[in-house]
């Protein structure tokens, strides 16, 4: 990777200030960012490490699960509180990367990066999460703006994510056989934000909601309700592991399995 200056501020305000420098980049868990740096696909002037901002932590109330931005996937997966409140979220976290990656990778990093094959964006969108930053609260509906693009302004730092507790939810992931990222990930939820189905890994524009599935499930929350609803392949990714048509098919399979798992 290219060399850079390294800063590890102790407050969110200092971090925001440091990120004001030209070509400054924030470092959360680094499990995507460091590989990107190693491939020399990014040339930051300064890397601002968010590890000392006190942003890790989990708080569960009756209505919501609030996860600090620097909370690792491992911590979410292992949280008994989250397993009770939104088991689908803990399950999702337990399927990201591998054990070692989950020990470093963070929810804030995942959402800010908005990798089209990341798992978390589907949960945020399906559960109607609210993403809180150093300066505002952003609805998930407004947050994801296409592949690797979010509503975050330059230098804006996610501090926490709040997930309303749903009545039912489940996540099903079809892993890319090689990378193990989501080739198709489907998060289904029935909660305060209504019935929502969010698809990750498949869309050219990143995570998206599946209107036809949502309509069907709103009328009848069962896997059978999805039978016969074809997902158009338009706008879906195509690569050596999966054509757009195959992804479209898998969206249906994973959605049915998710609904079945959600009960």
């Amino acid at each position: 990777m290219y060399d850079f200056a390294y800063q590890k501020p102790s407050s969110v305000a200092d971090a925001v200030k440091a990120l004001g420098a030209e070509d400054a980049k924030a470092l959360a868990g680094g499990q995507t960012f460091i590989p990107v740096l190693k491939q020399r696909l990014n040339k930051p002037s300064v890397v601002v490490d968010l590890a000392r901002l006190g942003l890790a932590g989990i708080k569960v109330t009756g209505e919501a699960v609030v996860i600090g931005a620097m909370t690792t996937h491992g911590a979410v997966a292992a949280s008994a509180e989250i397993r009770r409140a939104i088991p689908a979220l803990a399950n999702l976290a337990s399927m990201i990367g591998d054990e070692a990656v989950r020990h470093r990778g963070t929810i804030g990093g995942s959402l800010a990066n908005n990798d089209p094959s990341a798992c978390y964006p589907s949960a945020a969108l399906a559960l109607g999460a609210t993403i809180t930053t150093d300066r505002r609260a952003i609805k998930a509906d407004d947050f994801f703006q296409g592949m690797f693009t979010t509503a975050l302004e330059p230098g804006e730092i996610i501090t926490s994510v709040s997930f309303p507790v749903p009545a039912k939810a489940a996540y099903m992931k079809f892993k890319n056989p090689a990378s193990r990222y989501a080739m198709v990930g489907v998060f289904v939820a029935k909660g305060p934000a209504g019935v929502r189905v969010a698809i990750t890994g498949a869309g050219q524009g990143g995570v998206f909601r599946h209107a036809a599935f949502e309509t069907a499930l709103s009328a009848n929350w069962s896997a059978d309700a999805l039978a016969g609803i074809a997902t158009p392949a338009d706008g879906l990714n195509s690569d050596i592991h999966a054509s757009a048509e195959y992804r479209a098919h898998l969206i249906g399979v994973m959605a049915r399995r998710a609904v079945a798992a959600a009960g």
């Binding site: 060399d3 390294y6 680094g30 460091i34 190693k38 491939q39 054990e99 070692a100 990656v101």
Partner: protein, 165 residues
Amino acid sequence: MPQVTLTVNGKSASVEVEARTLLVELLREKLALTGTHVGCDTSQCGACVVDVDGVSVKSCTMLAVQADGAKVTTIEGLAAADGTLHPMQEMFREHHALQCGFCTPGMVMSAIDLVKSHPEGLTEAEIRHGLEGNLCRCTGYHNIVKAIAAAWPLMHGKAMPAAAE
């Protein structure tokens, strides 16, 4: 250049590095701990796994500066001072869980974390899933899975709960 101070295998070290230096580069090149290996550049293979503050970490996907103040254990730090091997090391040898030995340090470090973090026991499927981040090209994993299952009772000081077997 940034200064990194950390504890590696119980010994304190303070090293000046470029900010872009990876933890694995610090270990191999600055501290001559070459037991930790680099097998890929996409954080997939796990040959570089070490223990940082009690959990397994891919040392090729962590900057050395991020490890400032951390306690790191590498494969070289597993055996007791008198040379007694860690049970996982013993079981890898006993069950022929290694051939060329290149993935072995990372595999052993991941396996230890896996067993430690599953006090309730581990099924074969759970062990296989738990090794998702470690590639081995020699063994077909069969004997690695056996070795980890055999190390569980030694590490927890009791028989593997029947339900897990």
